[in-house]
Symmetry: C2
DNA sequence: CACTAAACGGAGGAGATTCCTCCACTTGAT
DNA sequence: ATCAAGTGGAGGAATCTCCTCCGTTTAGTG
């Protein structure tokens, strides 16, 4: 929080890292609902130590996922550097889905406003414009069906991540089949128009606000 | 269980129905994890009454979902009566997704062996052959991409149902957009081959066995 | 080395939750 | 009118999760 604090003692700093590492692993494997007691055990540290360092789970989440969320935004920006409109979009989408397929916690943070605090919130805001630019370029080039909306992107990521939760323990890459089907369904020309309107920005916000992780 | 039991007293029968109705609603809204206490409250009945009638949640689940699961199998069989290979398949898939999008409990029962008992298990077994026939006819007619496997069908249903959970409270039909995209991705000719092998029957079984509902 | 502030661990209390039994009371059927 | 069948829901047992507290240990300093 305040940056003018004296540095932690060496052992304290070491434990802080251990806690963050353990939390990262557990959040990825099991989602954000793991208890701080679990994290302490995995970190090889007493619960007290965890609570002394982090006020609550949200603090840990914010610390851990700010960077990851930022990376997603960066991914979209970097993808734009690839001049191929379809390839840049498809690659970005695949990467995002891969990230979320491998990290239950990240998915929750990305899809629900109810987690993380200021830093994560800021990172979250950077994503939409970047995705919009990428998608609009692909649509302008006639590579992606024109009725796709940026608000569909998180939904697609949600689907592949869910398939990954379901099939992952048995077959780690099966989610890519679903993404493959979806990608083929995104290309122009689209055989049939989409049967329902896209979510508006406002609706996306309400959805993200209401959602409790799986 | 044993069918040679004397009939229930009128009030008991009435309460039994109330409990089943309440359970059906709650399972649909919230999934199978609702407590029997919740069900009792919704049914306007004491907990004791619920426990006297149903040994545990599984008994309720089995009672309630045998029919629904059977209907899904029937759906596939009936769809085969439509001579149009694409339309019959697409309609069936849409129906299945709609069922599961509107009922969290049904989805769990359909996707996890861990719920329901004998009657549900039997209904579950009828589904695969019916779906396989429908799909193979569509593929033979060149309407559906040949690399789609029957084992992909439950995964597709899972995706749309999940989107429905997520967006449903704000916009009940948005899941149809995702299904629309997927359906377009299922048609031949497929722009790109699927990037991972389908689950084998054996793998599907292991997945269904391991899975705990969301 | 000796000293002390900082850090540590983890037992355990408080508060929720869920499951399910039990029994005094009510009611349907004959 | 009788009574077996049925009812409601208080409350005990078993878990969980959160988080504090304090006796003990340790890193850093002169």
């Amino acid at each position: 929080m305040s940056s003018d604090t004296r540095p932690l003692r060496a052992d304290a700093e070491r434990n802080r890292r251990r806690i963050l590492d353990a939390a990262k692993d557990l959040f990825a494997e099991q989602g954000l609902e793991v208890t701080l007691d679990d994290i302490a055990r995995r970190a090889g540290v007493g619960v007290g130590t965890v609570y002394r360092r982090f006020a609550n789970r949200e603090a840990l989440v914010d610390e851990l996922f700010e960077e990851r969320m930022g990376q997603i935004a960066d991914l979209a920006v970097e993808a734009y550097a690839d001049p191929d409109p379809w390839n840049s979009f498809a690659t970005f989408l695949t990467r995002v889905c891969a990230e979320q397929a491998n990290d239950r916690g990240l998915r929750t943070v990305a899809l629900s406003t109810a987690h993380g605090t200021d830093r994560v919130a800021r990172a979250r805001k950077r994503i939409l414009p970047a995705v919009t630019a990428l998608l609009e370029r692909a649509q302008a080039a006639g590579a992606v069906r024109p009725d796709l909306s940026p608000s569909d992107v998180p939904l697609i990521a949600l689907t592949t991540a869910t398939v990954s939760d379901y099939t992952g323990p048995v077959s780690g890459e099966t989610w890519r089949r679903i993404l493959g089907i979806v990608l083929d369904g995104l290309r122009t020309p689209a055989p049939s128009p989409l049967p329902a309107p896209a979510l508006t920005i406002d609706q996306v916000e309400r959805v993200m606000h209401a959602w409790e992780a799986p």
